[in-house]
Symmetry: D2
Subunit: 339 residues, 4 copies
C-alpha cells in the first residue's frame, strides 16, 4: 500500500484527489492539508467525501509524516517551496501546479512572473503526460502534472505532430468548464457574468501556451508556432479543444485515424470518437479524440475530457500508478457519466 498525502486539499483538485484516492485499492490517503480549513473534518468542507475520507485537515504536512507520496495541489509558487524538502526525505512528489512543467527557467519566469527557486528540482522533474512520457514517469521521483489545456490539446494532436506531416503552425481554440478556474470566486466566474455566455480570456497570453509548445516541439522534434485561445464555458466540468494544423503531405481521414490507432495502441484512457463528447468523459480519466480533414490540407483535431480528472487529479493518480509500478489504470478504471 502506497501511503499518500494531498497538500492543499480543499480546492477542487484536492477534493477530486480525495474522491479518487478514497477508492484506490493500492494507495491509501493518509493526510490532507489545508491552511484555511485546518482542524476541521474533511467532510465538513467536502460533504461528498463523508464516509470516504475520515481525516481532519492538517495545517501542513508534518516533518515526520509517514508517507511515500505527496500530491501537491498547491498554488503556483508554493510547490517549489515544498517539493525539495519532501524529496530530500525520500517522498515522491506529483506537483499539480505549474512550477515544474516548463523545462526552461527563463520561460517559467516570463510566464509566471517570478524566478524559479528550485532549479535542481526543475532539472529532475518529469513532465507527466502519461501517454507520452510513461517510461520517464516510471523512473521519476518528481512529476510535473500537466495542465488541463495541454493535456487535451496535446493528446488530440500528438499522433499528427509525431508523424512529421504537419507544418509548424498549430492553432488551438480551447473551451473549458468553470471548475478549471478553481474554488475561489472571481468576476470571471461570477454566474451572472459567465452563465449565459462563452468568454474568450487571456487571448494570446495564457500560461498554458508555452507548456503546449514545449510538448508539441518535443513530440514533433521541431519548433512550432502555437496560437492558443482559451474560452470560459457555462458548464462546470469538461473541456473541449478544437485545433487546426496543416499537412505538408496530404493524407485522407482514414490514414490519419490510423496514425492515432497506432500511436495510442494499448493506451486505455484515449478513445477515438467521430466527434469527441464532454459528457462521455465527465467523472472519468478518459479523453476522447477525433479529427476531420478540411480544405487545403487542414486537419481539425478535437479532444474532450474532464478537466478535474484526466486534466488534473486523474492523470496525477495515473502517474502515481506508473511511478509505483502498478498498472496505470488501477483505481481509475471506471467509465464517465455518459449523460
Amino acid at each position: 500500500m502506497v501511503k499518500a498525502a494531498v497538500v492543499g486539499g480543499s480546492g477542487y483538485t484536492g477534493s477530486e484527489l480525495g474522491r479518487i484516492l478514497s477508492r484506490h485499492p493500492e494507495i491509501s490517503l493518509e493526510v490532507m492539508t489545508s491552511r484555511q480549513n485546518a482542524g476541521i473534518p474533511v467532510h465538513r468542507a467536502l460533504p461528498s467525501l463523508k464516509g470516504f475520507v475520515d481525516l481532519a485537515f492538517e495545517a501542513q504536512l508534518s516533518e515526520d509524516a509517514d508517507i511515500d507520496l505527496a500530491f501537491l495541489a498547491t498554488p503556483h509558487g508554493a510547490s517549489m517551496e515544498i517539493a525539495p524538502g519532501l524529496l530530500s526525505r525520500g517522498i515522491k512528489v506529483i506537483d499539480l501546479s505549474g512550477d515544474y512543467r516548463l523545462r526552461d527557467p527563463a520561460v517559467y519566469e516570463k510566464w509566471y512572473g517570478q524566478s524559479h527557486k528550485d532549479l535542481d528540482g526543475l532539472e529532475r522533474a518529469v513532465y507527466g503526460m502519461t501517454e507520452i512520457y510513461r517510461d520517464a514517469v516510471a523512473r521519476a521521483d518528481l512529476v510535473a502534472n500537466p495542465g488541463c489545456y495541454p493535456t487535451c490539446s496535446v493528446l488530440s494532436l500528438a499522433p499528427l505532430m509525431a508523424s512529421g506531416l504537419v507544418d509548424g503552425k498549430v492553432i488551438i481554440d480551447a473551451k473549458s468548464g468553470t471548475s478549471g478556474a478553481g474554488a475561489e470566486p472571481s468576476k470571471a466566474t461570477h454566474h451572472p457574468a459567465c452563465g449565459a455566455s462563452i468568454t474568450p480570456y487571456k487571448v494570446v497570453g495564457h500560461r498554458h501556451t508555452p507548456e503546449i509548445k514545449m510538448v508539441l516541439d518535443a513530440v514533433s522534434d521541431a519548433g512550432n508556432v502555437v496560437v492558443f485561445t482559451p474560452h470560459l464555458l457555462p458548464i462546470v466540468r469538461g473541456m473541449l479543444t478544437t485545433s487546426y494544423v496543416t499537412l505538408k503531405k496530404d493524407k485522407n481521414k482514414d490514414e490519419l485515424q490510423a496514425l492515432y490507432d497506432a500511436y495510442y495502441a494499448g493506451r486505455r484512457f484515449v478513445r477515438q470518437a467521430s466527434v469527441p463528447s464532454i459528457p462521455s468523459t465527465v467523472g472519468s480519466n478518459f479523453i476522447e479524440v477525433g479529427l476531420e480533414r478540411a480544405e487545403a490540407g487542414t486537419v481539425v483535431a478535437m479532444g474532450s475530457l474532464d478537466n478535474l480528472v484526466k486534466g488534473a487529479a486523474g492523470q496525477a493518480v495515473q502517474n502515481a500508478n506508473v511511478m509505483f509500478k502498478m498498472d496505470e489504470t488501477v483505481g481509475l478504471d471506471f467509465p464517465g457519466l455518459g449523460v
Copy 2:
C-alpha cells in the same frame, strides 16, 4: 421632461435603469453615480450602453444637481442616509434598496440588523407595488421600490388574498436567477458552485419574508403566516414563484381565474398564463401569473418575471411614470424576448 439621476449606477440594477431610461421618451437620464467607477465613462463599465448613455460616472450626486427624481440603487443602509437630503431639496426619490419597504422600524431593525435612521422618511414612504398601490404612488415623493421576490409572489397571490377566501397560511417556494444576487462575486454565485444545481438559501431567514407578509396582510386585511423559501437557479435573469394557499370556501379554477381578471383589469403588465414562463417575460416589465386547483382546497399560484425589470428597475420606472402623472407604461411598453 423629467430629469433623473441614478445613484449607484454600476451594479445590475443601476445598469438596468440605464438601459430603460436611455430609451424613455419623458425621462432624461442626467447623472449616474458610482464610487468605484467615478470619472470613467458609463459605457466603459457597461459596454451595452455605449451610444445610449453618454455620461461619465460621478462619485456622488452633487448638491446642486438639477434633477427632479433620483433612483437610489444603493445598498441597504446607504439609502436612508441619502434620501432625506434629496427630499429636502424637492427631489422625488425612488429607493430600490430595502430601507423604506418595511413600515415598522422594529421589523426593519430585526431583519436588517441596524436601527432605522430616517423615521420621518419611513413614515411618508409609499410601497411601490404599482398594481396595488398606484394611487398612493401618484401622491408620493418617496417610494420604496419592492423586492423582486415580493413582487413576484404578491402579484401572483393578491387577487386570492384580497378575495377573503384564503386561510391565513401562505407557503412560497421561490426560484431566482443569479443576477438577483448583484454584481459582487461570492461563494454562492461562483459558477462551479451554482451552475449545475438549484440551491435553497436563507431558508426561513430571508429579508423578503416580512416584506411579503406586510403586503399580503394589507391586501387580505388579515394576519398571515408566511413561509418563504428562496432557491438560487442556474440561470442569469428570471424568477419563478410557486405558492400554496388553502381556500376556506371552495372555488373552481374558472372562478379563481375570474378573480384575477377582475383584480388586474386594465393593468397592462400583468398577464395570465396557464403556466407562467420566464422567457416570455425576460427583458420586459411583464409578469405572468397562473394557477391550478389541487386537492383539499389547495391552490397553486405561480408567477414569473424578469427580476431586474419588473422585479427592480422596470417597476421603479413604472412608479416614476405614475409619480409624474404619465401613463404607467411609458418607456416600458416592449415585449419580453420570448425565447
Copy 3:
C-alpha cells in the same frame, strides 16, 4: 456471481445500469436489449461504456437466456407484458417503470390510462424504496423500483411522517434535471425552451403523486393529502425537493434532526446536510436530506439526489444487492462528484 440482463438498455436508465453494473463485483451484465439498436455494439450507442460493456444489443431477451435477474428499463405498459414470463422462468425482476408501483389497480388505471394486465404480479411486487422496505425487498422476486420524485421526497420526509407528528397535508415542490425526461427529444426538453428557465409541468397531475401518497400513507399509517408540483430545471442530472408539512405538536430543529438520525441509523446512502446539495450527490447513490423549522409549526424538509442513480439505476442495483443477500452497498459505494 449474479447474472443479469438489462431490458431496454439504450435509454438513460439503461445506460446508467450499464455504467454501474459494469463495475459491480458480484453482478455480471450478460445481456442488454434494445429494439432500436438491435445488433449494434453497446458502446456504439453509449460511447462512455466502451471497454466496460462488451456486448451487442439484442432485440429482446431470448427465452433461454441464462440469467438470474432482469432489470426492466422499459416504458410503462411494456414491463407488465414481460415480467410474468420472466418470473415463471425463475428470473427475479426489478422493474424501473411505473407498472408495479401502485398497489391498487384502479389507481394505476386512473393515472396511467390503461388497465393493469398482471394483477398477480402487482400483488406480489414489493415497492423497492430500499431504506424503508429492505426486509420485504430481501424476500421479493419482483421489485417495483420507485420513481425519482417519490424517492427524493419520501426519503426526505419519512422520519417526520413516521413520527406521527405531522398533520395530514404534505406540499412537495420538486425540481428535476432534464435527464429525468428520458432520451427522447420533446418540446419540453428542447434546449431553447428549457435552457434558461424553470418550468412547472403537470401541476396537480403528475403520476408520481399517487405513488408518493401511497408510501407516505404507509409510513405514517394515516391518510394524507399530497400536493405535488414538479418543475423542469436547466441542469441535466440532479433533483431537489422542498417539502412543507405542519407539526401537530411542536418540536425544535434538534429534536427533528434526531428523528432522522434514528430513522436512518446505519443506512449508508442517506446523509443529513444543513442544505442538501445536488453536486454532492451527482454520480452517486447518495441522497442528502435536511430541514428547517419555519413559523407556525411548519417544517421545510429538503432532499437532493442524482435522479439517474439513487432516483433510478442506483437504487435498482441497491435492491438487487438486497434481493441476492449482498450488502446493499456492493458496487455502489463511491462518492458523488462534489463539484
Copy 4:
C-alpha cells in the same frame, strides 16, 4: 407606413420579427402566416407578443394581401417557391432562408441538395449584409438575409480582409446558442444531450461555409480557403466566432484596430470591444468585434452577437429600413440586455 407580412411566423425567427416589428414606428405588421397554427391568435403560440401583435395566424399569404414587404421566415426550398409571385405583385421580399444567398446555383445545389428553382430571382437578389452592401440593398427588391454565422464571422473579419493584408486562409471557430437550431426538437438540441456540453457539429460540412467564403472573397477581392467549425453552446441566445488569419505584412494591434475604426465609421451597430461579449449584445442588433495579435503574424479576430437579432430578424429589419429609405436604425436602436 410600410405594410409588412411575416411568412412562417411561428418559428423563432418569425417570433423575433414580431417582437421587433410590433414596436417599429414606420413598419406595420399586417399579416403573420403559419401553416401549423393557422387560425389561432398569434399570442396563443407566442405569449410574449400578447398585446403587441393583435393578429391571428393565416395559413398563407393571400393573393390580394395589401402589403409592401414580405419577410420570408420559411424553410430552405420554400422561399424560392414563394418569392417570384410576391415580386411579380410588386411586393419587396426579404428572405431569411438560404435560398438566395449563394450567387452560384451550382454551389447552392451542392450544399442544399436541390436544384435552384428561381434563377431570375437569384440573379437579382442582393446579399443583405447591411454594413457591407447597404447601397445595393437600397436598390434591391429581393434581399437574401445572411446566415447568423456568416454575419458574425464576416463582420469580425471584413476590415482585415478588405485591407489586402491577409493571406488566403481563414479559420473560423464558431459557437452558437441553441436557438439557432430553430423551434423543432431534435436529438442535438435535447437538453440532456447539449445542456452540459459544447458540441462540434457538421465539422467541415456546414452550409454557411460557402456563404462565408463568397463574402470574404468579395470583400478581399481574392480567393480564400475557409475552414469553418460550428459548435453548439449550452446557452439559448448568442453567438461567438473566434477566427484566425495570417498577415502577409506585419501590423500591430493599434494599426489593425484603426482599420476597423475606418471600415465601420458611422455604422451604428458595429462596436469594437477588447473582448466581445455575448450578454452585451443579447436582445439587440449590435455586434461586438475585437482582435488580438498573436505570434507569427496571426490575428485572432472575435465577434459576438444575438443570433436571432443581428444574426437574423434584426438585420432583416435593418435591411427593410434601407430598402424603404429610412435610417437603418429605425425601430432597432435599443441596447442589449448587458447582463
